[in-house]
Symmetry: C2
Subunit: 295 residues, 2 copies
């Protein structure tokens, strides 16, 4: 288990793979674009020429990719993981995809005697870099236990929440909370800023009471600095909210706030800010009120 | 300044007054109902027979009451503060009322040479008891400085945010953030619970990442325990959201999430839960989905 295959070196994946190297693991990476691979190689990783090639060399494969089609492609596409994987290997999907897709993928892997954990994360690029991610794991308890030392190199709060798909369901709950929280933060920023009270003083005081949250502490300062660089991308949150709303539809759960926030993000897409950070939600509210938050 | 008049011994006021006594202040209290007065007397406070009587004995008066009419009544009603107050006294209103009312009251007090600070708080009954409240203060800087040692006995983050009314405006921002945050928390609880994943495990893991907040950590556990006792009452939050939305209307600020959450609270009032805690928001979402969150 000392050798790990790692697929997907994006905003989250890259710092996570780096933390595995720092923890002493031998890491073999595969990624679509080359610069991230080169960076990892310079830090001691090796690279595989395909997911198949990667799978042949390890017994644990971690992937963190944008969505289910990406995960399926590296698994079941040409030169995919499935063509090279050793029986009884563990495939750990740390992407956020729908719980339904997770179960489908898991079943397909099981036919090849490959075990799967769904282990999406929360904590943004900040948490990924610091190795303080929350990791919510679904799948068999024994597989979870085997992978716990690996998770510990990337995260702080690591919980086995239940059977296959439970990790993804937990992540959807996480995103629903974030959507509501961030919308409250953004509306307060517009209200506070337009009222003329110093917005930095407002933030200083409300960040320490019952309004306090990760979103308020980490994203409100970016908003007042007009920093829309992504810690977590709008397009990714919108995908997650779509899955949350779909799951809600299946289970007959009405989620009016989540639905509203999802609609407001359409207005962010209209500004071509889908690849910006989720703090760009402010733009939809600023347009509605014809006012830009300022220091 | 060692002697303080304290008016309003409710959920918040009582523990705040107790913290003043513990810090060594001599506290004179006035309250509508007697049991809280008796409790304070047993801890070393004295009591006044009217706001007028109280005002005659001190130079600093703190009030924390439900709304502006209550504040006006103790100030300007029969045997009110204004009839007994010493010139150059400071009146510190720690209630949450509208910024407009604060300015009107402040102007009226100034005619009697009484200085006023608006100093609403956040942190709930938990913060009030622990003396860790966030206190957001509007008014003259010099008056703020005079009262800082007093505030320090009740709170941890104490910020002078600006001129008269700024404290109230800041508090409205605080409440707008809370409304959004809590609605996200409640929707996630219904989604997570109905999905069948263990809700306590979901909470454990999402409370440590980007979804983390005071509301999630403090109110979600109460919701799954079906504990609706108030740390902060529905009727009070609804009053605050009304002021936030009114201020928004004045300033032409669209706050769709705040407005939605305010509407959902009407559904909580339909259950006659206005005097319960704000975590009762869950009831509106449970009714919509015909499902009760369970452990």
């Amino acid at each position: 288990m000392h050798k790990i295959g790692f697929i997907g070196l994006g905003l989250m994946g890259k710092p996570m793979a780096i933390n595995l190297i720092k923890a002493g693991y031998s890491v073999i990476v595969y990624n679509r674009s080359k610069p991230a691979i080169d960076e990892l190689i310079s830090m001691g990783a090796s690279s595989a020429k395909s997911p198949k090639d990667l799978a042949q060399q390890v017994n644990v494969i971690i992937s963190i990719l944008p969505d289910a089609p990406d995960t399926k492609k590296v698994l079941f596409g040409k030169n995919g993981v499935i063509e090279g994987i050793n029986p009884n290997s563990i495939f750990v999907d740390m992407s956020t995809i729908s719980p339904i897709q997770t179960k489908l993928i898991g079943n397909k892997l099981l036919e090849k005697h490959v075990l799967m954990l769904d282990a999406p994360v929360s904590g943004g690029d900040i948490g990924a870099k610091a190795g303080t991610l929350a990791i919510m794991v679904g799948g068999k308890k024994e597989d979870f236990k085997k992978c716990l030392p690996i998770f510990s190199a990337m995260g702080k709060t690591i919980i086995h929440v239940g059977n296959s798909g439970s990790g993804q369901l937990t992540k959807l709950c996480n995103q629903v909370v974030i959507a509501g929280t961030l919308s409250g933060v953004c509306e307060a920023l517009v209200l506070g800023s337009k009222s003329g009270v110093n917005i930095e003083k407002i933030l200083e005081v409300i960040s320490s009471g019952a309004a306090s949250s990760w979103q308020l502490s980490n994203l409100a300062p970016k908003i007042i600095d007009r920093d829309f660089e992504p810690g977590f991308k709008v397009s990714h949150l919108m995908k997650d909210l779509k899955y949350a709303l779909e799951t809600g539809e299946e289970l007959n759960i009405a989620m009016p706030t989540t639905s509203l926030v999802n609609q407001l993000y359409n207005s962010v897409l209209a500004e071509k800010m889908g690849e910006k950070g989720i703090q760009s939600l402010i733009v939809s509210l600023e347009k509605l009120s014809k006012f830009t938050v300022k220091k």
